[in-house]
């Protein structure tokens, strides 16, 4: 690709690769972001240049973007460049593209960065899964993000196709201005951030799989649908067997397959190939820790937590939950009160992480049995696999503590 770069671009690329190898060699990081940052500083157009002549899919959302990116990569029957370490801002994108000669790319994109990344990469498809409250202490409130997405999508090129979740009014509001949209009818349990209409702020009324507002804003007609494990895209239905759990992941797979279909990949083949995705950066995998088997589940915000709690196997098994409130988690754990922990009544929860007392207080008010774990050695040793749900930095602590 270097032959199309200006001398400054070549310099930027060299700088990026040098910093990446240094970063890896010194053990300071996986090396993607640091190099990307240096490259972009030397040559701001680096990301656009690296994107030229590639077929790019961008995936953005509050929840599910890492998984859906992995599913799209697995379903695409060719060599694909991707930012698989979750470095989802321009520096990570530039690094991912610089590291690969593949002409296809799937890039997980941070919600706030999406408009800039659309402009820089000129994608063929943008996949928009959902928008909900997350880390309000450091991020913009969700309606403002929907507004920015809408502005960006109203200015995009004519051949861009948006694949959008029709059950999230904020996503529909952002996407409806695009030239071409493939609407997807996928299960969306979290509705609290779009109770009032993004267009007129009146109340959105919902009934059995449909929603509308008195101002005329309503759920669009969908060409992709999901019922249980059956995914229908256009007039073709496919029975899906994924290796990762949760009805929300069937929805993620359906949206990934819709994006790939736009680019000419047979959805049935794509969905079959997605079975190879069994865990993404440890998520959904089973790991060992001091003789216990832990099913590693990541949930960072109320929408993600609710979807996971709903997907837990019914029964009375204990659940371990670890909560931190460090910078990467958002320093305000108030969101624990937006999670329906009442669903866990009848089970016992072992409270872990820096903010285990915040969690215990929440569970106490929800009348869920709990134990505050100050000493990890006091954790029980059940014979069955333990469901361990953790937020961002707590998840990473448990990844380090446990082994494959």
């Amino acid at each position: 690709m270097s032959n199309r770069l200006s001398p400054r671009g070549v310099l930027a690329l060299i700088a990026l690769r040098t910093v990446n190898s240094l970063s890896r060699a010194t053990g300071k990081g996986s090396g993607t972001v640091a190099g990307g940052r240096v490259g972009l500083a030397v040559y701001p157009k680096l990301l656009s240049t690296l994107s030229k002549d590639r077929e790019i899919i961008l995936v953005s959302a509050t929840n599910g973007k890492t998984t859906t990116t992995a599913l799209s990569v697995a379903g695409w029957s060719s060599d694909v460049a991707t930012n698989s370490t979750g470095a989802n801002m321009p520096a990570g994108h530039a690094a991912a593209l610089a590291a690969s000669k593949a002409t296809c790319a799937v890039l997980e994109t941070d919600e706030a960065w999406l408009p800039a990344v659309i402009e820089a990469t000129n994608p063929k498809v943008v996949v928009l899964l959902n928008l909900s409250r997350d880390q309000l202490d450091r991020a913009t409130e969700v309606r403002a993000i929907a507004e920015r997405w809408r502005t960006a999508l109203s200015k995009t090129s004519e051949d861009l196709v948006v694949v959008a979740n029709a059950n999230d009014p904020l996503v529909v509001y952002a996407s409806e201005v695009a030239n071409e949209v493939r609407w997807c009818d996928i299960e969306t349990t979290w509705t609290a951030d779009a109770v009032s209409c993004p267009k007129c702020t009146q109340s959105i009324s919902r009934s059995e799989g449909d929603w509308s507002c008195t101002c005329g804003f309503r759920k669009p007609h969908c060409t992709t649908r999901v019922a249980g494990n059956e995914v229908t895209i256009g007039d073709r239905s496919v029975e899906v067997q994924l290796s990762i759990p949760g009805q929300f992941n069937v929805g993620n797979a359906a949206m990934a397959a819709t994006a790939l279909e736009v680019l000419g990949t047979d959805p049935s083949n794509a969905l079959t190939s997605m079975r190879s995705v069994s865990g993404i950066a440890g998520r959904f995998t089973v790991r060992s820790w001091q003789g216990r088997k832990l099913h590693m589940l990541l949930a960072k915000n109320p929408a993600g937590f609710d979807a996971l709690l709903e997907s837990l196997n019914p029964g009375s098994d204990d659940v371990w939950i670890a909560i931190n409130a460090r910078i990467a988690d958002g320093k305000d754990p108030s969101w624990l009160y937006d999670v329906s922990f009442e669903r866990l009544q009848g089970r016992k929860v072992w409270c872990l992480g820096d903010r285990r007392l915040d969690l215990a207080t929440r569970l106490d008010y929800a009348n869920v049995a709990y134990e505050v774990v100050d000493d990890l050695n006091s954790l029980p040793s059940p014979s069955s696999t333990v469901e361990l749900i953790a937020n961002y930095t707590a998840f990473s602590d448990w990844m380090q503590r446990s082994t494959e």
Binding site: D137, V195, T201, Q202, K331, S334, L336, Y337, Y365, Y370
Partner: protein, 225 residues
């Protein structure tokens, strides 16, 4: 005690349900009857002993105040009902506040308090001295609130910003207001009990819960900064 959560779809951004939950649970565990009703924007305001106003974004805050101006809230407060308000809810009770596109949007004027836009957004943990007790919480707002003559602040700021860096919120005979959002009553059991005692006119028996430990931990952590 009937607790009415006003327009949770507009004013419920920061775990505000936690306050209703703490109030009802701490009452029920002492044998005090407590019922929580959620008031939708299409509902008429029901009679209640205590109304809760939560936090919200600019657009929803404006719609909430428009609806409340036409509601019976002012009348019900005049007739003795209590109000517990946080963040946007605090601003709504005053004479005016600032939202996107309007620097002086008219409030409910139930209390002589005015809010303008501060130079910076106040985001972080908040610790205030309220009488003999400390109040801990988290604030996230862009308001600078000034109290009219005769309106008492709820507390003095020890850490964080509150109304203006010196004081947080306000308190009247029937109203409590603070910038500590969301589950402030869940995190401060003494304050939750004070509200229940006032609204029901009863003396409360002590109730030990894990919230006491959380409260101690947060106060200790914030006091040492």
């Amino acid at each position: 005690m009937k607790i009415a959560v006003i327009y949770p779809e507009l004013l419920g951004t920061y775990g505000d349900y936690g306050n209703a939950l703490a109030l009802s649970e701490r009452s029920l565990r002492r044998g005090i009857d407590a019922e929580v009703v959620k008031v939708a924007i299409t509902d008429d305001l029901p009679a209640a002993d205590l109304y809760l106003l939560g936090g919200g974004e600019d657009g929803p805050q404006r719609l909430a105040v428009d609806l409340l101006k036409k509601s019976s809230l002012r009348q019900r407060v005049a007739n003795g009902a209590h109000v517990f308000a946080v963040c946007a809810g605090l601003q709504i009770l005053g004479t005016s506040f600032s939202v996107e596109g309007d620097d002086a949007y008219e409030g409910l004027s139930i209390v002589d308090v005015a809010t303008t836009r501060g130079a910076v957004r106040s985001v972080g943990e908040l610790l205030t001295q309220v009488g003999q007790n400390k109040l801990v919480g988290f604030e996230n707002h862009g308001g600078l609130t000034s109290l009219g003559g005769g309106v008492a602040p709820l507390g003095s700021v020890l850490h964080g910003r509150g109304n203006n860096g010196q004081h947080d919120g306000f308190v009247t005979d029937q109203i409590w207001a603070t910038y500590a959002h969301g589950p402030v009553l869940a995190m401060n059991p003494w304050f939750c009990d004070e509200v229940i005692a006032k609204v029901t006119g009863t003396q409360l028996s002590p109730l030990g819960t894990v919230a006491d430990k959380l409260y101690e931990e947060r106060v200790t952590s914030l006091s040492s900064r």
